[in-house]
């Protein structure tokens, strides 16, 4: 085992961990954005800018993560297996999950960059994939990285998962609170019905 291969291995692991942190931050900022929230000390548009910036930064780290894994001569990971899921000879399932996650991320970021051309509806539909992409990436890191299965890196993964889970629960609760109840909808319909009848009555008179 030569030292350059070992160095590439550790760089790949390290960039993978940083990707996990960055994507967690991106997901949290995205959830904050959807609630029209803001970060202390930053203007409202700051959340949007940071969300975009960190996602691009995460992609650059993920590129290094995949490139160093491919360049590491100790295990045979082809360039194709970094993009095409489940074709790797080494840990095909866990690396396949990584490839799926990368592909979804590329789709989410690419559609965000051409958002004005594809329309809000399509962009939103594709952007929902981010919610699938993140847990797949977590599964990839746990399955393919034995050092994430115990020790400080396991706790880091647990903390990231807990943060995202809490943010999703808070977001869902806020959305449910904001949605009108059945009684409110019925009252609104009855009110508009009464108004229409009054208008029609006045027109007849």
């Amino acid at each position: 085992m030569d030292s350059s291969s070992t160095a590439l291995w550790y760089v790949s692991r390290a960039t993978g961990v940083v990707c996990l942190l960055l994507f967690t931050a991106v997901i949290l900022l995205g959830l904050l954005m959807s609630r029209q929230g803001k970060l202390p000390g930053l203007p409202k548009f700051g959340v949007v800018h940071l969300h975009r910036y960190l996602s691009l930064l995460a992609v650059s780290f993920i590129t290094v993560h995949a490139a160093t894994a491919v360049a590491d001569s100790f295990v045979n990971i082809s360039l194709a297996s970094a993009i095409v899921p489940f074709v790797s000879k080494y840990e095909p399932f866990w690396l396949g999950l990584g490839a799926v996650s990368l592909d979804l991320m590329i789709a989410v970021i690419a559609t965000s960059l051409i958002r004005s051309r594809i329309g809000r509806r399509t962009w939103r539909a594709v952007h929902w994939l981010a919610y699938a992409c993140w847990p797949i990436a977590i599964a990839h890191s746990i399955g393919s990285g034995p050092d994430v299965q115990h020790g400080p890196l396991l706790w880091l993964t647990v903390a990231c998962t807990a943060a995202v889970a809490i943010a999703i629960v808070a977001r869902t609760a806020a959305a449910l609170r904001a949605a009108p109840s059945d009684a409110q909808i019925r009252a609104l319909l009855a009110d508009s019905h009464t108004r229409n009848r009054t208008r029609i009555g006045a027109a007849h008179r």
């Binding site: 692991r13 961990v17 940071l50």
Partner: protein, 96 residues
């Protein structure tokens, strides 16, 4: 303060936060790349011999060693022939 001044100030703050995040990410990656070899895992494996004697082996493995044994099976499990109290040979294998 006018609105445009506020926007300019906000942009500057966002840029500084983005630059800090980039620097922190690079430092974290570098720190982890150097620190990961030090992250070790101690695994205790307990084996019971035919005589009912228990022996506990503590083995410290680095991530790279785990990687090695998982990927290519280059490392065979540590095989230590030992002799039990009834002089029959026992083989205890350390966990990876």
């Amino acid at each position: 303060m006018t609105d445009s001044n506020r926007v300019v100030q906000g942009r500057t703050r966002v840029r500084s936060v983005a630059a800090s995040a980039t620097a922190a990410s690079i430092l974290a990656a570098a720190g982890l790349a150097f620190g990961l070899p030090g992250v070790t895992a101690t695994k205790a494996s307990t084996s019971t011999g035919s005589t009912g004697q228990k022996s506990t082996t503590h083995k410290t493995t680095t991530t790279r060693q785990r990687h090695t044994s998982k990927s290519k099976n280059l490392q065979s499990p540590t095989t230590t022939p030992t002799t039990g109290s009834n002089n029959s040979p026992q083989v205890s294998s350390g966990g990876s």
